[in-house]
Amino acid sequence: MVVADTERLTAKTFGVEDSHPDWCGGCGDFGILSAVKQALAKLGRPPHEVAVISGIGCAGKLPHYINSYGLHTLHGRALNVATGVKLANQNLEVLVAGGDGDGYGIGAGYLVNSGRRNLNIAYLVHNNGVYGLTKGQAAPTMRRGQKTKGMAEAAIQESVNPIGLAIASGYTFIARGYAMAQPDLVSLIVQAVQHRGTALIDILQPCPIYNDLMTIDFFRGRDIGHNRTYRLADEGFDGRVHDPSNQDEIVAKQQAAIAKSFEWGDRIPIGVLYQLDAPTYEDELAGRLPELGTSSLLELATPGQDISRLQDAYR
């Protein structure tokens, strides 16, 4: 393996030649993988400066197919591990990936609390409504009353609204993508990574095996004669807070994003729902210890720190 030349980064640079994704044919994960690699090429960071941290599930396999540092962690804990990685070495570009069960179910507490921290990381949630790896049980995004062919009974619990949850949790970049809308998704990932703060992209994706409700045809709107997904920007929606010091604007933009998040059925919005420039966790740490503004813990926290004054305080 050679060190990549940052001048000529392409999607191929971030590919792993001898790996064989074990996703099913037609899976939206292929689209997401392709978009991530294209986005990384555009972002211009060499592979060794990128870390992709994933949870467990179909989506969790993602880092195995990307040429970067990667950890395929535990179910629901990817954000925790990513938090440790990023704080250890702020120079790394940290991407987090996982499914909707991983992020909105077993990892829901970490989804919320990671939003509160506003660490400079990007979180991609592959949202297909089902647990694919365990053969099609309903994910937290499955709507009440819905029943896929794989489910024994229709869902009798409400689905979670991830965009609303992200707003309430303090995420400063919130978007929705669609795995099969490649250029849009690449652009969203680039924006999410470039955003200073924690970014969440809820990525709708078909699961051709277990979810016969959220199919490609459903998103294309074959039954209604037009695409269900539409671009927020095309309708003049602007989720960005232009004056972060204006609390009224923040609240208005949050309310607008939440209102949009309930749109489902014949029209499903895609694009940036909310964005706010706010101090990151890293900024706060640098406020506490200025050295952390320019160096990472990896460089600063060396063994053999002088503790003589600390010990003397107990004398």
Partner: protein, 619 residues
């Protein structure tokens, strides 16, 4: 007359009583006077109001435990003396009056609702002082208008001043401490505190009928300058010294004091302390930081450790360099006894998650060991690329002890084997490369050319998911083999300690914080009971020093296992590892630590008869 050998206790309600500050100021004054101090606290899991007792023991030689009797009992309320017999199903406790040594004294607040006639002991002395009146008089003597809100905090000085009077101990040590503790804007209070102390001392002398109390404290100026420190603080300092850059935690008794101490150092040292949303997050954040090359740690008690289980297995299978997990044991199961002592989590710490995986478990015996072992734990995490559990407990966490230093200078620093691009040529990096030692040089995230992915699934040398049998066996063997290497390489001093004569009537076997009462009991057994005893303290619990333990036990005449748990968990481990079953046990699972006297009692009883399993408790 006993010089400097004092057992002192103060009792009262939590938060409002000032028990903690009185005890800690008194303990510190004794330490400043050059005395050796051991001080431990018993408190309820409550916000305020419930009973606290805080002991201070001093000596001219190092002390590491408490004794049952107290020479001076300072009672801020009736419960301290008599307990609460009317309370619900069980009485909360029987009070501490019975602990007062003959010729000892009770110092109490005359204005507290205490029935003096119920004391019913004519072998002790009662000194009643009106705490608040005394403070008021002292303040007014200085021409200051008494203000209860501002001045009543000084009532904590009354029992200290009274103690100093009976013990013939100079209050100047206390005054100096008060001046150090008070912020600059409140330095005017120093003089007031001094007056309260003097006034309390004078009144106590008047109220105490006898000429001389049976204990006096004589400063040893040649010895002043040693530290007075709790285990939680000692471990925090060790983490900073070791270059731990990242500490995570979720608030829990008795562990969070360690993290709070570290939080205060974040503006001075390169350490980030992150209060996570739970212990699952704490653990996995620390694992992430370890993979990214920073020495990382977390700290918790049993309930939190239960949540950390999956993260420990994850750290181990992915061969993270650490993290270091300090487990401050408390009474279980479940919420159990949140603020009380136990050694119930040994077996859990040895098998903290599903599957078979390597990790290291080491149990320090006191605050100084806890600091030193924590330092080494980072080395072992880096070198063997596995999580390390430092198995401490409430008794170490909360007890104050005098130390010259933490013994950290000169300890080795080992960051383990790193991978660099030059090592591989054009071969792709193999994170879990099969090597002779089992250790694969690690590429820290960010290392040019070292890109790899690893996974909580079983994986190949390159970290890819794989379920083939040959690979599975090779990777299992590789990981477990690192434990054998650790067993060979970790020096004996970290594995065990053998204290006392090589040949003795009795061999006491224990681990962790029973070290204090056991080592203090050894000379007493010899001098007062004619029993020669030695002590085998097992520090490294995984990998287990089976050979040396078998050798020592084979040579022992009468072995007594001492543990703060119900099952005799170390005994079970010894049986598993050596085939030797220890029949004589002295166990305590009442949530209280062994005292020196309880160890002596256990050894005497076991020496007198074949008792098998002996359970101790002194409520």
């Amino acid at each position: 007359m006993k010089e400097n050998a004092l057992s002192w206790m103060i009792g009262g309600p939590a938060l409002t009583g000032g028990v903690n500050s009185s005890a800690e100021v008194f303990a510190k004054a004794c330490a400043r006077a050059g005395l050796y101090v051991f001080s431990n606290i018993e408190y309820h899991s409550n916000i305020m109001g419930r009973h606290i007792s805080y002991r201070v023991r001093t000596s001219d030689t190092p002390v590491h435990s408490h004794v049952e009797q107290v020479d001076l009992l300072l009672a801020l309320d009736s419960e301290t003396l008599f307990g609460t017999p009317e309370y619900q199903d069980y009485q909360r406790h029987g009070g501490h009056l019975h602990r007062v040594a003959p010729d000892g004294a009770v110092i109490l607040d005359a204005k507290a609702k205490i029935d003096h006639s119920a004391i019913e002991r004519d072998d002790i002395h009662v000194v009643a002082l009106a705490y608040d009146d005394l403070v008021r008089e002292s303040v007014e003597e200085l021409g200051v208008t008494y203000n209860a809100r501002r001045h009543s905090v000084m009532r904590n000085m009354v029992p200290i001043g009274a103690s100093c009077a009976l013990l013939d101990f100079d209050i100047s040590h206390v005054v100096t401490l008060v001046a150090e503790v008070l912020p600059a804007r409140h330095q005017d209070m120093v003089e007031m505190n001094r007056h309260v102390l003097l006034h309390a001392a004078e009144q106590a002398r008047r109220a105490y009928a006898k000429e001389e109390f049976h204990v006096t404290l004589r400063p040893r100026p040649e010895r002043n300058g040693h530290m007075l420190i709790k285990g939680v603080d000692a471990v925090g300092i060790a983490k900073i010294h070791a270059g731990c850059g990242f500490q995570t935690y979720y608030p829990i008794a008795p562990a969070s004091d360690e993290s709070v101490m570290l939080e205060r150092q974040q503006t001075r040292y390169p350490i980030v302390v992150l209060q996570a949303e739970d212990e699952i997050a704490s653990m996995n954040m620390a694992v992430g930081a370890a993979h990214a090359g920073v020495r990382a740690a977390t700290s918790t008690a049993g309930p939190g450790f239960s949540l950390m289980a999956e993260g420990l297995g994850f750290a181990s299978i992915t061969e993270a360099a650490g993290p270091v997990v300090v487990l401050w044991q408390r009474g279980g199961p479940s919420t159990g006894l949140p603020t009380r002592q136990s050694q119930q989590d040994l077996r859990f710490a040895l098998q903290p998650a599903h599957g078979e995986f390597p990790h290291i478990v080491v149990a320090p015996g006191d605050a100084r060991e806890a600091a030193r072992v924590t330092h080494m734990a980072f080395n072992w995490g880096d070198r063997y690329q596995m999580p390390v559990v430092v198995l401490a407990d409430k008794f170490i966490a909360n007890s104050l002890v005098t130390l010259d230093d933490l013994g950290l200078d000169g300890l080795p620093i080992d960051r383990g084997e790193y991978w660099t691009l030059e090592m591989n040529g054009s071969d792709p990096y193999r994170r879990h490369r099969l090597t002779e030692s089992g250790i694969s040089p690690r590429a820290v995230f960010g290392t040019p050319g070292g890109q790899y992915v690893t996974t909580s699934d079983e994986h190949t040398e390159r970290g890819r998911i794989d379920e083939q049998v040959e690979n599975r066996i090779a990777q299992m063997d590789k990981r477990m083999q690192k434990l054998d290497l650790a067993a060979q390489e970790i020096p004996d001093e970290w594995q065990y300690e053998f204290i006392g004569p090589e040949d003795a009537d009795v061999t006491i076997v224990g681990w962790g914080s029973t070290r204090g009462p056991i080592t203090d009991a050894l000379p007493v057994l010899q001098s007062e009971h004619g029993i020669s005893a030695n002590f085998l303290q097992i520090r490294l619990l995984r990998p287990f020093p089976a050979t040396v333990v078998r050798e020592k036990l084979d040579r022992a005449r009468r072995v007594i296992l001492v543990e703060d748990n119900y099952m005799g968990q170390l005994g079970m481990l010894i049986a598993e590892q050596t085939g030797i079953k220890l029949e004589r046990m002295a166990l305590k699972y009442d949530g209280r630590p062994f005292s020196q006297d309880e160890v002596v009692e256990a050894v005497c009883e076991h020496s007198a008869a074949d008792l098998g399993r002996l359970v101790l408790s002194h409520p």
